[in-house]
């Protein structure tokens, strides 16, 4: 798993990149009450705003961490946005991207580097 400075995680599963936010980010956001996901088929460029999260406190944007096409989104979040708090790195994932260049992942932190980054 890789981590961005924006507190997103990326995991490669079956050639797709799964994206969500870290435990640390979900704690900082507070209880998530609404997640607006991109449409399937959306072409994204790294740093495009693709997801909006509304917590009890405020709205936050989630950026695409990598270029590619959104091929799957976590529809369950529409009715149960609290999964982002309950299981941010599992059931609380946001979307899957078919990446144009998996090499873009190399610039991101590994778990150890991320733990240092947030401490």
């Amino acid at each position: 798993m890789k981590f961005t400075e924006e507190h997103e995680w990326l995991r490669v599963e079956d050639d797709l990149v799964v994206v969500g936010i870290t435990e640390h980010a979900s704690e900082q956001l507070g209880d998530v009450v609404f997640v607006e996901l991109p449409e399937i088929g959306t072409q994204v460029t790294k740093d495009d705003e693709v997801v909006v999260i509304e917590s009890v406190k405020a709205a936050s944007d989630i950026l695409a961490p990598i270029d590619g096409e959104v091929v799957e989104v976590n529809e369950a979040l529409a009715d149960t946005p609290g999964k982002v708090n309950d299981d941010p790195t599992g059931d609380g994932w946001f979307f899957k991207i078919k990446a144009s260049d998996l090499g873009q992942m190399d610039e991101y932190m590994d778990e150890t580097a991320y733990q240092d980054y947030i401490s």
Binding site: G30, D31, V33, F34, E36, V52, V56, K57, A78
Partner: protein, 374 residues
């Protein structure tokens, strides 16, 4: 930035793991480790303890006793204070000459004097306003007492166990109680829509009282985050957001707080700043009204969201003044102002969120029923 003021519970908030934020010049807890959602639900289910020590506590005294303070204060607020019973409290607001609202406040008849509680952000201005407007009164700001609120269905049983006699009071009663925490000034009121108490306690005893309350299984500390979602579900206004110097009490749907004696045809009709506009609007209606709003989707419509009459085109017809997710109603909720013709329950309008117009229905306030002990 100037140094933040602290309340007597600052160290306790930190010990409890609160996230602290600046609020009205004070360093205040926005949430504890449980988080806004759980704190909110706990308060509605059992009891929550709030530190509201940043609010201003003021005593008004006059040679002519309470009657004189009431007579003079009636020149600043459109509230029947002369008719307020001994050891009873009323909600009210200072109005300006244009009929807007300078601040909202609580006013209590404490026998030989009046006790007033005002908002933190307005207290300096309010005290100056009272000193200028109440020539025969001594206006004393109480600076050696803190203010706690204990709110929720379990509040009565919890506080009665520590301060016998409080269970016998009813909504908007005030009392002075001797206790092991010194003299407590207790009113049966709050700002959550739940039954509960607001407790004024000496600075020296504040932490001991808070710890004793928190030691009860039913009591959890509640931060400003849940305080805001609780008051919004209860349909209550936040000064500086839902009401301000530009909103009249009639527009703000607060005419219930103007008693008959101060209305047109009443025993002491008018006689407060802006009376001409306010009394006229009470008879002829105001151009706009504060309403409850229920977005049809799950996305909250927050403060500042522009409101439109149609899904496309046209200029904004109003805007959201408070908006959040309601943990008890499990849905987003807002309040805002709309032109009178649109301000009827069930009307669908549109709020623009991130460039998209989303349907939102005008709804009844409060969003959750009040649980006061009348």
């Amino acid at each position: 930035m100037a140094d933040l003021l602290t309340t007597p519970l600052n160290a306790l908030h930190r010990e409890l793991g609160a996230k602290m934020v600046p609020f009205a010049g004070y360093d205040m807890p926005v949430q504890y480790p449980a988080g806004v959602m759980k704190e909110h639900l706990h308060c509605r289910a059992k009891a929550g303890l709030f530190d509201v020590s940043h609010m201003g506590q003021v005593i008004l005294r006059a040679p002519g006793g309470y009657a004189q303070t009431a007579t003079e204060m009636e020149a600043l607020v459109p509230v029947d204070l002369i008719g307020l019973g001994e050891m009873r409290q009323r909600y009210g607001f200072f109005t300006n000459d244009e009929g807007g609202i300078l601040d909202d406040l609580m006013l209590a008849n404490r026998g030989d004097h009046m006790f007033v509680v005002v908002n933190a952000a307005c207290k300096v201005g309010d005290i100056a306003h009272m000193r200028a407007g109440l020539p025969g009164c001594e206006v004393e700001e109480i600076t050696d007492r803190a203010l706690l609120a204990l709110q929720g269905p379990a509040a009565e049983a919890v506080l009665e166990g520590m301060v016998p006699g409080v269970a016998a009071t009813r909504f908007m009663d005030v009392g002075i109680f001797a206790s092991e925490f010194g003299e407590l000034w207790i009113s049966r009121s709050g700002y959550t829509g739940e039954d509960g108490y607001e407790i004024s306690v000496t600075e020296a005893e504040t932490e001991a009282l808070a710890r004793a309350l928190l030691a009860h299984d039913d009591v959890e500390p509640i931060g400003l985050g849940a305080r805001d979602s609780l008051r919004l579900e209860a349909g209550l206004c936040l000064y500086g957001h839902d009401i301000d110097e530009t909103t009249s009490p009639v527009e703000a749907s607060l005419i219930w707080a103007i008693q008959k004696a101060r209305r047109a045809g009443g025993a002491r009709e008018g006689g407060f700043p802006g009376a001409e506009r306010i009394l006229d609007e009470m008879v002829n209606g105001a151009a706009r009204a504060r309403v409850g709003l229920r977005p049809e989707g799950r996305a909250p419509m927050r403060e500042g969201t522009p409101l439109f009459a149609a899904a496309e085109g046209g200029e904004p017809v109003g805007q959201v003044t408070s908006g959040a997710y309601g943990p008890t109603i499990e849905a987003p909720m807002s309040m805002g102002y709309l032109p009178k013709p649109l301000a009827t329950e069930g009307t669908v309008i549109y709020g623009e969120v991130r460039g998209k117009r989303m349907p939102v229905k005008v709804a009844k306030l409060p969003f959750t029923p009040a649980n006061f002990k009348r």
